[in-house]
Point group: C2
Chain length 362, copies 2
């Protein structure tokens, strides 16, 4: 999975750009299941290299209407960051709640080597990461997943769990039945056994895994303690910024907690409901086999997911490696993004010689 920069080293001023349209073409070419698997492999690989990463909580600019965040990280060889917004009010105006793009660079030169849309890619990496965690934390005999919240992320979750964990029974609930109908329509042909439920409580009944992925920007109680049976794995996706949670505190206290990067989850996850020093388990240690995941069939495991910069880094690395393969030449375009004068000290001369400044010098 090493990054191959042969092509990129030839034209350092050029940055390959994967547009939304390109990303859809990549999905078509590789197949969405293969992409989810591929990204999950990269996410897992990077969790295993956890100490190498420069880790920092995301840099957030909060406003009344939402948040704009930068999520940088580096493994020492490459550097990546994602720009992502979260605007729950956008949906009512026909806009995406979350949009994103990202950049991958070489640490040695500081030059970018990939610019990519990340709205679709974030949906893929979030679902892939959920499965990376569930592989460690869900009961091995899990077949049925409750999906509470049937918005933009829900189908990606369903397909990722089906592809990698064999989940083929879904119990759906959304406060808006139109969202559930959209989900069912989109999933035709994927061979799920689907039950549309009238409440979150009904959806949670008999589920082996409960995925909460709602979008309101407030402390909500989507799932209460009494809705959850012993042995369930909870995949909590929607509680991902300060003041936004989905689970009842008693449920969080009852579960065995697993997180990505504790300093960020304590601010943004379900964990924000608990004391600052409440003990948690770090997913990377479980993946490396240094810490136990699920230890019996009756405990409740909770992946309190907020999305971490390394997962975006993994996804960017994956896309970079894919477009660098033979036959992928029409899956990106080249952007003239980096000024590259023949003499690096002669930026002005480059501009002047471009003919641009004829009027000025005359």
């Amino acid at each position: 999975m090493a990054i191959n920069d042969v092509q990129l080293q030839q034209d350092l001023n050029i940055v390959p750009f994967v547009s939304v349209d390109h990303m859809m073409k990549i999905v078509g070419k590789l197949g969405i299941e293969n992409m989810l698997k591929g990204i999950a492999d990269y996410v897992e690989e990077d969790f295993k290299r956890w100490e190498l990463f420069d880790k920092t909580p995301r840099v957030a600019a909060h406003s009344h209407d939402g948040v704009i965040e930068l999520m940088p990280t580096s493994d020492g060889e490459h550097y990546g960051f994602k720009y992502v917004n979260g605007h729950p009010k956008n949906m009512k105006e026909g806009l995406q709640t979350v949009t994103a793009f990202g950049v991958l660079s070489k640490v040695y030169t500081g030059y970018p080597i990939l610019l990519s849309e990340m709205t679709i890619l974030t949906a893929l990496r979030t679902a892939a990461t959920s499965v990376v965690a569930a592989k460690q934390l869900a009961r091995k005999d899990s077949r049925c997943m409750a999906l509470i919240g049937n918005g933009a992320q829900s189908e990606f979750q369903a397909l990722a769990f089906k592809t990698m964990l064999g989940i083929d029974q879904l119990r759906l609930y959304d406060i808006d039945p139109a969202a559930t109908a959209k989900f069912i329509s989109n999933m035709q042909g994927y061979n799920f056994d689907i039950v549309a439920c009238q409440s979150a409580r009904e959806a949670a009944q008999s589920a082996d895994i409960i995925t909460t992925v709602t979008a309101d920007k407030l402390n909500a109680t989507i799932l209460t303690d009494d809705m959850v049976a012993d042995g369930v794995h909870i995949n909590a996706i929607g509680g991902d910024c300060p003041g936004k949670t989905e689970l009842e505190k008693a449920l969080v206290l009852r579960a065995k907690l697993f997180v990505e990067y504790p300093p960020q989850t304590r601010i943004e996850g379900e964990l924000q409901q608990l004391d600052d020093d409440y003990p948690v388990n770090e997913l990377w240690q479980v993946i490396r086999g240094e810490l136990a995941g699920r230890t019996n069939d009756s405990e409740i495991t909770l992946f309190d997911s907020v999305g971490f910069a390394t997962e975006d880094f993994s996804a960017l690395r994956y896309i970079h490696d894919q477009i660098d393969r033979p036959g992928m030449g029409d899956m990106y375009e080249n952007l003239d993004m980096i000024a590259d004068p023949d003499d690096p000290r002669d930026l002005f001369g480059m501009v002047r010689r471009s003919g641009a400044m004829a009027k000025v010098a005359a």
Copy 2:
């Protein structure tokens, strides 16, 4: 100078992109002097609105070979950030020491409205900011500037000072005579009276303004206290990251100090040589007339410039407004950067309906 979003509101998924080539065309169309003046106006305007800005020191990822930084800020209405690297060793390998690009977004939606190259733009805004400070801090009768360091930033500094302050005599020095020769060649036709000097000391002699803009990533002593006469304004550009300074400590102590954003300058500027609570003057207060700049013709003023996120924000705002003017349609291209499904909750359906997933669903 209000941002006009009429055109952009029609296609929210599209982000205008100003490439390196576009930026050179914009320079040609508008004229470099007009751009320097225009950007200086925006920089000054934003310094006057200082309290409105969300201010944070840059987010830096340091490595053995250099640094990659993100510089975000927001005035509540717009959000901007710059990606910039600093790799002094790059020059020996034929690469730029500093390359950059940036993004401007709307806070209300979180959607980007401009992606721009910022290698050239940073050179312009840095020179513009130097003049914004020097307007307040240099003696009114200044005619002669020493330029110590004749690399990529030097010509932009010279032109900005000529255009806005009437500086038409230059005294040049660089450890590499080839850099000075390049400068002289580039400045032909701009009617400067130029003296190439054999040392920094010689260059500093009889200068009204001394601009230091060298690139070594280490604590250097480009300018010592005894080289600087009373009444000089020092425009110190090159000391701009931890461990990188240009001035002798005694000289910094002798001067009246002006800075952009103290928490950042204390880490990155000449100020890193002094105590953490050493008193400084903030440039924005001087521009607003709330604090004195130069008060007599004998004091030494020092603008300890490190470059701050608001200056990039001002430059991005300026470019956004320019490309939105009639006749500027070929000064950018449109990037399909933001996923924009008809139903914002139906990201998966957008991907599926693109035909991309035919193979998968079959």
